[in-house]
Symmetry: D2
């Protein structure tokens, strides 16, 4: 189910163009370990702490997206995503971590690792130096990749160990958010590059952005596995 068509046309094309890294990312050892429950607890906790820092910079990118949007509808979508991230999801993340004995203070003292920093700053620079489309292409592997991973793991005979993680990303709310982001991306591309968008050089660049961001996501899982 690579390039889930529910998440839009551009996404399906991007996944196809970046097939090898996309497989390496969505079927990474870390992901397989989440599914079959063999992921060491220490790796998971390491991931959760880094993910807290990640979510902050990821949210900043959605704020930037609102600033770079062309239409009120684009702004509404970005604003809602940003608001959900910082005013709801962060709270959930803090609660999840608390269940594993990680305090909010520990979370906010987490030293950001290079692979983590590399991805979010790549996204932010793509946004600041490029335009709204560059930003979305760099954000897509995270938003939609997690949706694809969650849906796949939930379909399999997943071990209950990391049930909560799988349920969160396979759940209706998250899957619907993915469908909306997919529509946002498709609409944003059409309204800027036109129906023949795949023949523009911009499209090739956006595909590169998506591929680079996917490579950086692989690094993120590598970092997770290295977890201490």
């Amino acid at each position: 189910m690579s390039g889930n068509p529910t998440y839009g046309n551009a996404f399906a094309l991007w996944c196809n163009a970046a097939k090898t890294p996309w497989q390496a990312y969505t079927r990474h050892g870390f992901v397989q370990g989440l599914g079959d429950g063999t992921l060491p607890k220490s790796a998971y906790l390491h991931y959760l702490k880094q993910d807290y820092v990640f979510l902050i910079h990821f949210s900043r990118a959605w704020g930037l997206a609102a600033a770079k949007a062309d239409t009120l509808d684009e702004m509404k979508a970005c604003a809602a995503t940003l608001n959900t991230l910082v005013n709801d999801e962060m709270q959930l993340h803090v609660q999840t971590c608390a269940q594993f004995g990680i305090s909010e203070e520990q979370l906010s003292n987490t030293v950001e690792e290079t692979e983590n920093l590399a991805y979010t700053r790549y996204v932010l620079d793509a946004g600041y130096s490029g335009d709204f489309l560059d930003l979305l292409a760099a954000l897509a592997p995270c938003v939609l990749g997690y949706g694809e991973i969650g849906a796949r793991l939930a379909q399999g005979q997943a071990s209950p160990v990391y049930d909560d993680w799988i349920a969160a990303y396979a759940g209706k709310d998250y899957q619907q958010a993915c469908a909306e982001v997919g529509r946002l991306i498709d609409h944003a591309i059409l309204s800027r590059l036109g129906t023949d968008y795949t023949s523009t050089p911009r499209w090739a660049k956006l595909t590169q952005r998506f591929e680079t961001a996917t490579r950086l996501e692989i690094g993120f899982w590598d970092m997770g596995l290295r977890g201490i």
Copy 2:
């Protein structure tokens, strides 16, 4: 009631430093006309249409603020403001305009006038080229000035003609938002420049930002009065 202390210390100091333009802005002919009901309807409608365009760019600035924030608390405040603006206030604005026979299509076809554009792009560039504090100092005259104007007009014997406008900005919700933005500003300054902030050169620059933005607000009312 210049520099309403309810809106924080920095605001009170800024208003005091920019006393002449602040008076010219908050006691502008357009404002007096809103209060005593003498503002020509055509000027008000002109203002409403320009304000629609203004709100879009103003919202973009709050999205940018979320991207430039230093802490999760700052991000939460900016995200909530942005979300309220684009997902609630814009709708209210559209409804108000509809009552005056201005359709949403007309609103989105409004040609942005120079004084309008000047203010919002000044704010956005202050944010992009400066930091979070530059952005807040440039946003403050609008957010807090409207709060001060609304509160003053509501205390007087205002004519009922522009009651709705006055009630919106004098109302509890908007006044509370002003108090929160005032706290955001004070806290952001303290956590960057320290308790002795008024002795830093940065403070003088921020005061200049506030004053320039206030001058641009005067231009916005001038544009309103010129309304066709």
Copy 3:
């Protein structure tokens, strides 16, 4: 000679699409006064002082262009322009002003007027919120419009009063710079939107950017004429 073809294809198309404001800008009363020598000296001095502030923000925009460029060749062009502007042209401007008895201190104390601020901040926000093409489309009316105006005035029977101004912009160096910027724009568009670029929605947006920036240039001349 509207849309001088020496300055590239995109420019010619843009001028054609924005014919009315382009005429209003390039044949503005201020420009005619420069040509026939009837422009009041006070208006010219007013313009020179505002232009000093303008050049600073205009240069900042070229710095930003270097940051947003896609290729080393684009960066080289932007870097050279920026360097010439701040390390050579500003000096020339200061010397010109000195001849009219305006000191460098006076220049740097100039209070930026709204029409001036409106244009440069529009350009900067176009760059920050959009991409490299948005930035170039917003810069083009200034760079290339001055080239077109200078060349036209030099061809006519210009009065000697503002000879220096005309010679500077009609001169070989400036005309060559215009041709290079025209090539930069054409190449940047082709390498992003492809040969069929005029059929993309992006092109329509860029044309709008060019037109808005042209309107803001008209405001700049209005401000000049108002000169005190």
Copy 4:
């Protein structure tokens, strides 16, 4: 000679505050190998190719610095640095690589590695999301660290193998550039935070920026050593 005082006060304080990572960076195995000639040629070539990509994004950061500067003097310094980088140093780099049989085409096809990308995007985001000082603090470890390394290796009994590299960074031109950047930093800090700058929270944040950037430089050398 950690925190070479010739490069200014802020730099000396930053090096002192980040002593451990600063030592790890400036006395890294890659650096020692450059000095005693034991660095494998393959590692050096790997580094040269990555450094080509690095220089492009590093130059973009100096363009951004020009856009974010407060004064004409700051702009002049940034513009000159940017111009030298893209119009001179890149050419030198290409020539150096050609001597080792690496073509310009190979250089421009280099796939940017994560450690490389991490540093430059961190710098760019520091600039875009922060202000001019954040940008300088993030740029400093590279500019001034190379100066410090070059000067130290030139003083020792360096092997002739990597003589050219050492001579470039120990040379008068580069050392003078370091002194100028050091003055730019000191002046920029004083003119924003005042003489008592070390007591502001901003200073602590800038020190953190410097330390994070230094950690990312260590990663860059690690990447070099891993060179294939």
